[in-house]
């Protein structure tokens, strides 16, 4: 049992180390997040009233796309250098390693996005009452996005052009999170209670936590055997 925990910790540490050594991968999703969000005022309208109405959805869509963008790298380098084979030949449960990798990945993508989100909120004139809702919903929603994304990443890891494909596979599955996430922000803006939305986001997170690592583990096994 303790060796299992040890593996969880070691993998977590390893993936964080790897992420910090590849600086560009670390900041790219964040930059993407900022750029996507600033496209809307430029492309649609810079009018504050209009933007503040759209802001909850825009920030969420941008966060979703940024997470998606960063997902592709989750298993890619491990697949290419053979680490993934070693991982699959471990007598320890694979889903645990997957969970650990997703956690490390989320800390540097989802959590980072959550922290930067208020900046986008200000850029898009999101009323300040909406900020807590924005951060809370992102905090609960982005891990689900990472977990679901891990399944897509695992399914496409062996393919040369997996990048577009992964979005095709994963985006439809993101829709519920998007709906409840942006609704939570909207509710916060209008002063309605948030608990319901957050509970739903939490429930989805729980479900994803239980099932996604297993599905991703199975998908990795399939991809590597191909």
């Amino acid at each position: 049992m303790s060796s299992t925990l040890q593996l969880f910790r070691q993998t977590f540490k390893r993936d964080l180390t790897l992420a910090f050594r590849r600086k560009s991968e670390l900041v790219n999703p964040l930059i993407f997040f900022l750029i996507v969000a600033s496209l809307f005022p430029i492309g649609v309208s810079p009018e504050p009233n209009f933007l503040s109405q759209l802001a909850p959805g825009l920030v969420w869509v941008a966060a979703l796309l940024a997470t998606l963008l960063s997902m592709e790298t989750l298993f890619k380098s491990d697949y290419e250098d053979g680490s993934l084979e070693q991982l699959l030949l471990s007598p320890q449960p694979v889903f645990l390693v997957v969970l650990s990798k997703v956690l490390a990945h989320w800390l540097l993508s989802g959590l980072a996005l959550t922290i930067v989100a208020p900046l986008l909120g200000v850029m898009l004139f999101l009323p300040s009452e909406g900020m807590p809702g924005l951060m809370l919903s992102l905090l609960l929603g982005t891990p689900t996005l990472s977990l679901i994304g891990a399944i897509g990443a695992a399914l496409t890891v062996g393919l040369r052009r997996g990048g577009v494909l992964i979005s095709l596979l994963v985006l439809p599955l993101y829709i519920p999170v998007l709906i409840f996430g942006s609704s939570a922000v909207q509710a916060a803006v209008t002063g309605l209670p948030l608990d319901g939305y957050l509970a739903l986001l939490g429930a989805m997170l729980a479900l994803a936590l239980a099932l996604a690592p297993i599905a991703a583990g199975a998908a990795l096994r399939i991809s590597v055997s191909g």
Binding site: I151, L173, I179
Partner: protein, 249 residues
């Protein structure tokens, strides 16, 4: 095949050869009854069923829209379950069923969306409305497209079958969540408008032809599925002795 508690037909199903011959026998029956019921349902629905007191005769689109929507969903279920059977019991035929079903399901989803949109024009005054049913059907179509894209992107057939099975299962878990969230989102954004199909207590002369159409389409698309399955079996089993025998003579 380690476990032995499953009924015999289950193992027979696992044999491509048996499957090929049984579908060969079933196809004429499906074609005959499906075609007949389709004609009956079509004429009944178009000419004999009473028109709706609110929507008038555009209501008759229901006899196509609802069956295709039902089938699109149940075909997804079938695809995911067949995929799961293929994953768990390594049953080749199940993989082939899953692969044959996917394009048909996508076609059904497209048809349901198209008829919904056409129906929407006289009812809502616009071709597209983000109605809960249409939206979740759209997402279902996306799920189908994802499955098909993944299947065609992977070269190895066995890997493709397994990967798509995993994706289809993940989608299956998500379908109720998507449905629920879309419905809920819909009521939040547009308070109760005119729904396409929800009618309290439809009279019998309206729903019986609907039932006939549902059964007819099940049979016809079942037929299409079996035709695709047979092609798939031939293609994959091309080296097996029985295929050579069958085609050689």
């Amino acid at each position: 095949m380690a476990s032995s508690w499953l009924p015999r037909w289950f193992y027979q199903l696992a044999s491509p050869r048996w499957c090929y011959s049984i579908t060969g026998k079933l196809i004429p029956w499906f074609a005959a009854t499906g075609g007949l019921l389709f004609l009956v349902g079509l004429i009944w629905g178009l000419a004999f069923a009473p028109s709706d007191y609110q929507q008038g005769n555009s209501f008759r689109i229901i006899y196509l829209h609802v069956p295709t929507a039902i089938l699109a969903q149940s075909f997804y279920m079938m695809m995911a379950i067949a995929g799961a059977i293929g994953l768990i019991w390594k049953m080749k035929v199940a993989d082939m069923v899953a692969k044959s079903v996917a394009p048909l399901g996508a076609a059904l989803a497209v048809l349901a969306l198209a008829t919904g949109a056409i129906w929407g024009k006289p009812t809502w005054g616009s071709w597209w409305v983000w109605d809960a049913r249409l939206t979740s059907m759209l997402v279902l179509l996306f799920l189908y497209l994802g499955v098909m894209a993944l299947n065609s992107a992977i070269e190895s057939e066995t890997t493709a079958a397994k990967s798509t099975a995993v994706l289809a299962l993940v989608g299956l878990v998500n379908i109720p969540i998507i449905k629920y969230s879309v419905e809920w989102w819909n009521t939040l954004h547009q308070p109760a408008t005119f729904k396409l199909t929800e009618k309290p207590a439809m009279p019998a002369e309206m729903w019986i032809p609907l039932l006939v159409m549902v059964i007819a389409l099940y049979l016809l698309f079942g037929l299409a599925m079996m035709l695709r399955l047979r092609n798939e079996i031939l293609r994959r089993e091309r080296r097996a002795g029985w295929v050579k025998e069958l085609l050689g003579s």
